[in-house]
Amino acid sequence: MSRRVEFVHGDYACAMAAIDAGCRFFAGYPITPSTEIAEYMARELPKVGGVFIQFEDELGSIMAVIGASWAGLKAMTATSGPGICLMAEAIGFAAMTETPCVIVDVQRAGPATGAATRPWQGDLQQVKWLSSGDYEIIALYPWSVQETYSLTIDAFNLAEIYRVPVFLLLDAVIGHMREKLVIPPKSQIKIVNRKKPKGSPSEDSRKTFKPYAPDPETLVPPMACFGEGWRTRCETSAHDERGLPADNRPDVHGALVKRLCDKIRKNRDKIVKWDSAFSESDLDYLVVSVGFMARICKAAISNLREEGLKIGLFRPITVWPFPDKELREISNRVSKKIFVIEMNYGQVYREVTHICRNVELIPWLSYEPPTPHDIESLIGERI
């Protein structure tokens, strides 16, 4: 099949990519501005042998997604910040049970009910620190409809490789904005499936089977799913490699928590994605920004450079893990100041201050997006 060109909004691009990535299960609850993803899946999944179910709430949706993943399907849900709140405990559960799953958060203005159809980059820190205890997740942040498609594919692949919940953070502006989408031919889309245990289940091999024994290289255990004959265990309590509760064994608990974090931390070089523009040479100023705000900033920076300003752009694409090493490397070449420009009150800024010096936050606290000219003025006032 050859490439296909569509004119769709980000919510549809995400849903199309999910199906292309092999997603065959969707459970969700309606919430603006993510609902179009559920609607697309409701229409298309039954045609490809998949299952769509609308749940009674987000707590049920995410649990069904996790259950379906344990039964062997690639599974996702889509929601917005208030729905993410309700999924908090289950995200910890997915991390603890090492369940591959994708959670799309089409962010809306908060806190609480906020403003349903309005954009706000308010959930960056939320998705990282959602549940109790120590664990790691992955979060991807596209800046266009095209990138929404490619990062959704990546989200499923990363979930399968690392057995971890992966978030896709969409701006409402991207979710609801229509633009050109080029869908590559199937042969050019790289699809990864979870590793299975070696051998086949038998009376004897089952006796020695350890569902949480990690691959020593990646720290990720191969995944036995329900119905495959391994008599496997999905265990929410602290557990040993056999999957048996270990709530009275502090050493086992500690080693498990460490591995849940290390399987992401130690593989971060393979996971982290970032983008930069105009940053090849030495700079006086650098802008750090994510998602659609980075796109507006890029236009502003381009204009400012025409006026002779030595300014560049750094855009984290994985916000978790944050591309700290890469930002530090570029920031070493910045002589004056780093501006963090975001539609919130300092969520990316918080990370950047841990990495660089001379950082200033330029928050855009209105859900009417800025124009490139607005950004040029805001930078102009500060130099």
Binding site: P46, I53, D57, I66, T236, P245
Partner: protein, 271 residues
Amino acid sequence: MRHPLDECLRLEAFPTIWCPGCGNGIVLGAIARALKRANVDLDKVVLVTGIGCAGRMATYLYTDNAHVLHGRAIPFATGVKLAKPELEVIVVGGDGDILAIGGNHLIHAARRNMDLIVIMVNNQIYGMTGGQVAPTSPLGVYTTTTPYGNITERPFNAVKLVAAAGANYVARWTVAHPMQLTLSIEACLKKKGFRFIEVVSICPTIYGRLNRLGGPPNMIKVLKKVSIVKKVPPEEAEISAERIVCGVFVDKDEEGYIDKLRKYKERALRT
């Protein structure tokens, strides 16, 4: 020495965490016996449990199993069943897990006639957390959060609730009815749609102590005394400290969710 149920049990996880005299062992035994009687392939069974004493049951049955979040066993099990309909998915939970924190999922799974077996072990108290009032605690009983006797928290009648929500099968037994319970689970294994069994259990360590009920043998005696097996419609399936009506109250064969979903997919492909 081997016990006839050994093949159904994850022996390396024993002994159980349950207190002496707990009713959970009787329920586990009934499930294992029913699976054997119905000749079910244990590779095709998934036991899903939430949090609480009954929630630990998923550790002990030798099938694929999942010990999941408090109250969320039913939606997790729904995801499993929808993803692999050939599996027999059984949910076990306590009354707090299934009826309080998970109550919304219970009624919606029954409304959908989702193809699950849900066994609710009703010990009428929060046992694992040390004896707080449950949505099933009878009026008048003492718990750590109703220290002056419960007069404010009216108990749920789970049988009426689940029958009203549309389940295919609704029964109630007590742990003093192990054989009836086993046969009831066996009957469920041969049916489709949403199947619900309430098992009134005993918690000698917490409930029995707080209410001076005289230890496990006496609590079983009391269960036998107050329970009566009757063939009545669900609205007459009374439950209180004085009287527990047991039996099968709903047993019908309305099309379950999975069969409907199969037809729905055909519709999708035709249009």
